[in-house]
């Protein structure tokens, strides 16, 4: 089966800094792929490039066979993108933003209203729907961002840190929704620092570090009993956490003598 997302040798430099260095990976349709790695590894840059927001310095990418190039309406209609790095319109109300998203994607008014109602219900945002976005908490903004990415039921979802600042009930609902979307043939590519959630929701993960994909694995094959290097004798980390530390190096614990 043709991969839904193909990233081929993508490099991105900001001045002298290489945010991505020849990144290549593929995501199968109907799967949930997680990108993990330390801060500054290049996860947000990779997702921004795939969404068409950022131009790669070198390399190419396709989504559902569509080249990721600027000004591609076909690409934009096929993807849903959400990132806490990117803001929303502070002086619009949640309902207005969501309806605008739906209508701009060409949904009929009634359908747009129905989907917006369903999403507000799903994400527990009904009470806040009539409030301005600047009044929202970080978690509420994140939920609204997710709702905007979901509303046109895109074939590929690009979600940067989708669980950040969400309450546990919302996380549960989002996880179920993502699984449902994947089982209906849609593809999800997400990045997260919450390894337990990544392990719960993803089929496959890629570990990014310094702009390079260091390791890729199917999560089904990753056994919970994996024993890896554990920093300073700490215990309780998940198998994915152990794998991450194995790949990118275990964190040092520095003592603060003045505390």
């Amino acid at each position: 089966m043709e991969p839904a997302v193909i990233v081929d040798g993508v490099t991105k430099t900001y001045g002298k800094k290489k945010a991505l260095n020849g990144l290549s990976f593929e995501v199968s349709p109907g799967s949930i792929y997680g990108l993990i790695g330390p801060n500054g590894a290049g996860k947000t840059t990779a997702l921004s490039i795939l969404s068409g927001l950022v131009r790669p310095t070198a390399g190419s990418a396709t989504i559902l066979g569509i080249d990721v190039v600027p000004d591609s309406r076909e690409l934009v209609s096929s993807i849903g993108f959400c990132s806490p790095q990117f803001g929303l319109f502070d002086y619009l109300k949640g309902r207005e933003i969501l309806l605008a998203c739906a209508l701009m994607h060409g949904l009929p008014a009634r359908e747009a209203e129905n989907r917006a109602r369903d999403l507000f219900d799903l994400l527990d945002l009904e009470q806040a729907a009539g409030h301005f976005v600047y009044e929202y908490s970080q978690g509420m903004r994140q939920k609204l961002g997710l709702a905007c990415a979901f509303i046109h039921a895109p074939a590929v979802l690009l979600l940067d840190e989708p669980f950040v600042a969400l309450d546990s009930a919302s996380v549960y609902r989002v996880v179920l929704t993502l699984r449902r979307m994947a089982s209906s043939g849609r593809t999800v590519l997400l990045s997260s620092h919450d390894l337990a959630l990544v392990q719960r929701v993803c089929n496959r993960v890629g570990i990014l570090s310094d702009g390079v994909l260091k390791h890729e694995t199917d999560l089904v094959s990753l056994s919970d009993s994996t024993t890896a290097t554990r920093p300073h004798g700490s215990t309780g980390e998940s198998s994915l956490e152990s794998l991450l530390w194995e790949v990118v190096g275990a964190p040092d614990i520095k003592e603060l003598s003045w505390i």
Partner: protein
Amino acid sequence: MVLDNPKSVGHQYHMNMNLLRLARLLLQERWRKIGNEQSWPARLSACLVLLVGAGLLISTANRALANIPADTISVAASRLVTAWVLAGVLVGKDLTWHTRLERLTFFPLGFLPLYSLALALGFLSFPLLLVLSVIEAAFLPKRAGWLSAPAVLLGFCIIVCYVRLSVSLIRTALYRHNALTPIVRVLLSIVIALIAVALLGSNFDTGPAGLLPGHLYGPVLLGVGPLQNLALMSVPVILLATADYLVQRQVVYSGVAGPSASRTRKSKSRFLLFHPSPSATLRRISLLGWIRHRNALVALIWGTGYGFTYMYLAKPDRSIYFMAFSWMCFVFHAYLRGNLLGVDNRAVWFYYVSPLPIDTVIRAKNSSLSGLQLVMVGAVLLPALLRRTPGMTTPIEWAGVISFALCGAVLGEILGSVFSVLHPQPIDRSSMYSGGTTPGALLVPLIQTISLAILVLLGALARYSLGTLPTFILFALAPVSLWVIRAAVLRGWVRQRMWRRRESIMRKLMGS
């Protein structure tokens, strides 16, 4: 410990050093922010252009002021100060630097030192320093006595404080009244009523109007009774500073981040769902954005109300008045026009992932802003339409004014598109003063003014030398040709530039 005793010399020294450190931090941050928004060649060339402009202004002022009587200078200074306050209230730019006090309460300093620091730093603004240098140099030959130079400087500082504090109090009432307790609201209303009386009073040349700071600054400029005049000028400023300190203190510690929001859940949504289509949705969202932008709304209300009232009551008999008021309507929104994406701030990425062509965003924002401006122009023309003015009776007069208004709007759209794409800058809507420092904010109204003045001159020339029909044709052709330029060239250019510059646009607007 010495530092634990607030009255000890050591404690005071420590606090003063902290203030200096904070001032240095704020200056560093401002310098880097400007660096992020404009490259150093852009900053340098802007400085050079302004300095050359200032030099020309100084030499012109020196010649013009040589024979002007002192009273005339006082009246002019008083009216200039009024215009300065009004401009500050309407567009949020009073030329001073406004540091956001709510960001500074994090530092271990009391509110009074922070407020004083913000007030002092307000003077470190390039346009303000430029104005000061022009004033100092323009009045140099007229000075008498050793006190003149410092008196002019001190008087200017008092005027700046007067303007800044008046603007601050009025804009706080407009933007943050929901953060104030009822008692402070009442006190603020009284202070604003006094400011309004002072602003109205500047229209008179004698009587109590002679006690207004602007009026008193006239003799100071000429070296007449500097100490006495400066003392009188200080009185209202001290009162305003006390009021502003109390009001800002309450606002900062209220935790209110913006104007109060209405709780209607569906009314505005229906507005979006009425005949929905992707591009119409974008236009309506843009219109909502402008209406909810306090500066745009205040300018709309002022332009509509003042334009209509003046025309209705003053009954001007020449079409040039209508053109002048229409020009005023365009200038109010010029800084928003020159930075259309600025109000979207961190949300600008949204347009790049929306399924509409990217140039439709600029078109939607432009057309909705033009709509607001044409409402203001409509209010200016309404008294003439209702036959309440002796002017505007011939078709050629109407053609001239309508052509002027349409040219102003379409030219504004063209210039706005160009400057918005090339020089975007974030406008922080939770701040009462953010925005208005882009090249577009200055150049859009300037080019608009020059072009519209040329149109008026050409119209007058055509009318008196060629006759009515060619003048009609000129008035018809002017907006049509601008329309054609906009349709034929601008759309493709905007689309190409917005995509090519997308990372730069997002970096500037999102700060990352």
